[in-house]
């Protein structure tokens, strides 16, 4: 290996201004449409991802308001059963596949490379590809809904209701194919994050110095890698049953309808933790910053994350307690479902200990964390309840469960996420969000959420099943339903205020300094928003909180090339530098590949031959993507 090639420029002998100019020339995304379509900058794609996910959140929220309108009164006729079934299916599918998982991965796409101190995510073109796939999947679902062919079989799409005989038309196919889109994009991002965390950490960031948010995303990514193939197999089998007449789910020909449920929940339960674990990481980060001390019990927190990830694969049967499986087997799953309360409890206690020993500062992000503690613990308690087989036989598929998982998912994931948005907004945009509006937003949401969802526990125990488009006037549910619908308006106002604040602040909020909260992780060691190259010099880490040692001086590495996109590869455990590696430049090929894949996937709803013919343009796009272009990034 020659030490210095000809024309090879390094960052060693340059002053700061000159270095910044060179790095910008190498790393920045060109202006204009072409630049926007071909960029591979993890920050641009991450922001895009986050914005898109929040658009889907807003759309899903509108759907929930429509449902509350219909359910406010008994036998209301605002929405017929056909549309209502589409609406609740869309709400669930949209929130799970187009909002919750993507938004958590999107936060990681933006933050993980910054937090581990590198210049771009691993496989940045795959990252661009995954965004386009996600967007195409979301468009497929929503355009179908607008054309009245939105799926109407529930987000769980149980066969035989979603099977060939009882779901005529293409609605269920659209659901299953939308799953494929989001699956491809989620798996791609999971691989990127795993490799980024394994190989691109700043020198010195050994396993015990990885920030907790990065740990949580690492565990989450492994959950995605191990859980998503189950839904891939299931949705493929469903499409094949519907399109070419296979018999996976046909009991008369040796298939089984519970096979679908096993496969779906083997994915579906880890899915909950895929959404929840990143939120845990966000909470840890925010707690550490706003209590002015590191999170208590780092090792315990990491172990709890890993334990949750492993246990997540041993609980799927608790979604099937009333399907008629052997009781003894079910009792095992009661025990394993209850057991997950232990790592969850450990995390809660560690945060409490942190708050106890720290100096809490009640800024908006921290308020959302407090809201999370109050709400999520209720969700955890009701989770323990539904883990019990006899208890579950009464509340399964009722509004009790609706209340339970909204407490877990909204309380456990959306509240931390909104806190995280308030927390990292200055980093994303360079501007602060309004503290006043933030407090109002939190107040409205906290009040609105509890008033909306707590009464649903009671409705469930009073016998109100889920997924009913209306109920009869003689049932004693109408009062509470009206109350819930009115409370939902408060919650909606909270979200509206959040969106107003975010849009207003992004345009005209007060300018943010590099580190407005006095936080101690690496993403705050660069300007807000970070430059295209993230860090002028790649940081070197010697503790869990790299900015704590000396807030004014950052230890860094030098010697990297600046005439190509270069970053450092380090070893998995100790993060010892192994190589200077180039990071691919902008490319339009991921967009073409995503377009070709999308056409193939949508076409294959109509004929199986689409897979054969469609694979040709996909192959061409992929070859175009990987074929070397003779640029400096390919030096070695």
């Amino acid at each position: 290996m020659t030490r210095h090639k000809e024309g090879d420029r390094r960052d060693t002998a340059l002053n700061d201004a000159e270095l910044q100019r060179c790095l910008t020339a190498t790393w920045s995304t060109p202006a204009g449409l072409w630049g926007a379509l071909s960029t591979v900058d993890h920050k641009i794609i991450g922001r895009r991802y986050i914005t898109t996910a929040f658009v889907f959140l807003a759309l899903g929220g509108v759907l929930s308001l429509l449902m509350r309108l219909q359910l406010a009164q008994p036998e209301a006729r605002f929405i017929g059963p056909d549309r209502y079934n589409q609406i609740f299916t869309m709400h669930g599918t949209n929130m799970m596949f187009l909002f919750a998982v993507p938004v958590m991965q999107a936060m990681a796409i933006y933050l993980v490379p910054l937090m581990v101190g590198t210049r771009n995510i691993a496989f940045p073109r795959l990252n661009a590809f995954s965004y386009w796939m996600y967007l195409a999947g979301g468009l497929l679902l929503w355009v179908a809904f607008a054309l009245d062919v939105g799926p109407d079989v529930g987000w769980f799409a149980y066969v035989p209701l979603s099977g060939p005989q009882y779901a005529a038309g293409k609605r269920a196919d659209i659901w299953a194919q939308m799953i494929t889109f989001t699956e491809v994009s989620a798996l791609a991002v999971a691989v990127e994050i795993v490799v980024t965390v394994f190989k691109q950490r700043a020198p010195g960031m050994s396993l015990d110095r990885i920030p907790l948010f990065v740990w949580s995303m690492l565990v989450t990514s492994f959950l995605i890698i191990l859980a998503m193939p189950a839904i891939m197999i299931a949705s493929t089998a469903l499409i094949l049953d519907r399109l070419v007449g296979t018999h996976f789910f046909n009991p008369a020909e040796g298939g089984d309808v519970l096979l679908w449920q096993h496969l779906f929940w083997f994915f579906g339960h880890p899915e909950v933790y895929i959404i929840f674990l990143p939120a845990v990481g966000m909470v840890s980060t925010i707690v550490a910053t706003f209590t002015r001390r590191p999170v208590f019990g780092y090792l315990g927190m990491v172990m709890a994350l890993i334990a949750t990830g492993i246990l997540a694969f041993g609980l799927w049967v608790h979604h099937m307690f009333v399907a008629g499986l052997p009781r003894l087997g079910e009792s095992f799953f009661t025990a394993s479902s209850m057991a997950i309360a232990v790592p969850a409890g450990l995390q809660i206690f560690c945060w409490l200990a942190t708050m106890w020993a720290g100096r809490p500062i009640f800024k908006t992000p921290f308020l959302f964390v407090i809201g999370f503690m109050v709400i999520f613990v209720i969700g955890g308690m009701t989770g323990v309840m539904v883990a019990s087989v006899p208890f579950d036989t009464q509340v399964h598929d009722t509004y009790f469960v609706v209340a339970h998982f909204h407490y877990v998912l909204v309380g456990g994931a959306v509240f931390p996420l909104l806190g995280a948005i308030y927390y990292w907004f200055p980093k994303f945009t360079g501007r602060m969000m309004s503290e006043t509006l933030g407090r109002w937003t939190f107040g409205l949401m906290f009040t609105g959420f509890n008033l909306t969802f707590f009464p649903m526990h009671i409705l469930g125990l009073q016998g109100m099943p889920r997924r009913i488009y209306t109920y009869q006037p003689e049932m004693p549910w109408s009062g509470l339903n009206m109350f819930i619908s009115l409370s939902a308006i408060i919650l909606a106002l909270g979200f509206l205020m959040f969106f107003v604040d975010a849009i207003r602040s992004a345009r005209s909020g007060s300018a943010a300094p590099a580190n407005p909260w006095g936080a101690l992780t690496l993403e705050w060691a660069t300007s807000s928003p970070p430059p295209a190259y993230n860090f002028m010099h790649l940081p070197v880490v010697s503790s869990l909180e790299p900015l704590a040692d000396d807030p004014d001086i950052l230890p860094v590495a030098s010697g990297l090339r600046i005439d190509r996109r270069e970053l450092l590869i380090t070893s998995v455990v100790q993060a010892v530098p192994e190589a200077r590696e180039s990071s691919p430049g902008d490319s339009i090929w991921p967009l073409w590949a995503a377009a070709a894949t999308s056409v193939t996937l949508i076409w294959s709803i109509f004929t199986p031959w689409a897979v054969v013919w469609g694979s040709i343009p996909v192959a061409i796009a992929l070859i175009g993507w990987f074929w070397p272009k003779g640029v400096v990034e390919e030096d070695a």
Binding site: K199, I225, P229, A237, D241, P555, I569, E581, E634
Partner: protein
């Protein structure tokens, strides 16, 4: 914020090889994804079998010839593949070129045999659940052979182009060889499941 240089990385190589390369880890991650998929397809097979009163459903066990020949061929193909991986590590351009051509041929041959495997199952995908899972398992594995074949063919073309002689390409070749090992090794439990479990 001020910077103080504590580490000089100028002497590091410009491209990581082996476990220092991102593609190596990326390939491993994709193998984990696909391996989970293969494992689940076997689980589905065994699950359907556990429900059935007789297995295989409504037909005889598959004929062994095509599948066994293919298995033998796949195992044999590991030998040139391991050589190819070694040559790639040694960055020996001509040997790598020859190895890639051999591996391309060894990627086509199983496809020919696979064409005889489907009829050897004595059942179509739309006859019953046994037919469905058998066709899907064969189809799933065939897709992997085809993808790897296309990848090998493209790499072969690359090695004959001006981009060929570069550590990056040798890394790609050894990752591709690793992936072929994966395709072969995952076939073994599938082979046992498809051909021998019905005979138990």
């Amino acid at each position: 914020m001020n910077h103080t240089v504590v580490l000089d990385v100028a002497d590091l190589p410009e491209h990581g090889l082996g476990s220092a390369s991102q593609t190596y880890w990326g390939t491993l991650a994709f193998m984990l994804i696909e391996g989970t998929g293969f494992a689940l397809s076997i689980v589905v097979y065994l699950y359907l079998m556990s429900l059935a009163t007789q297995w295989p459903l409504g037909t005889a066990p598959p004929d062994l010839l095509a599948g066994t020949t293919l298995t033998a061929l796949l195992i044999v193909s590991l030998v040139p593949n391991l050589f190819l991986a070694r040559w790639a590590r040694h960055q020996d351009l001509w040997k790598v070129r020859i190895g890639l051509i051999v591996m391309t041929v060894l990627g086509v041959a199983p496809l020919v045999l696979r064409a005889f495997e489907f009829p050897a199952m004595h059942i179509k995908w739309d006859q019953n659940a046994y037919g469905s899972i058998v066709w899907v398992m064969l189809g799933l594995h065939t897709t992997h052979i085809i993808t790897n074949l296309v990848e090998t063919a493209v790499l072969t073309a690359l090695m004959f182009s001006r981009h060929g002689d570069s550590p990056r390409r040798y890394g790609d070749v050894s990752d591709n060889a690793m992936y072929w090992n994966f395709v072969v090794i995952t076939w073994l439990p599938m082979y046992a499941c498809l051909y021998w479990v019905p005979r138990l």
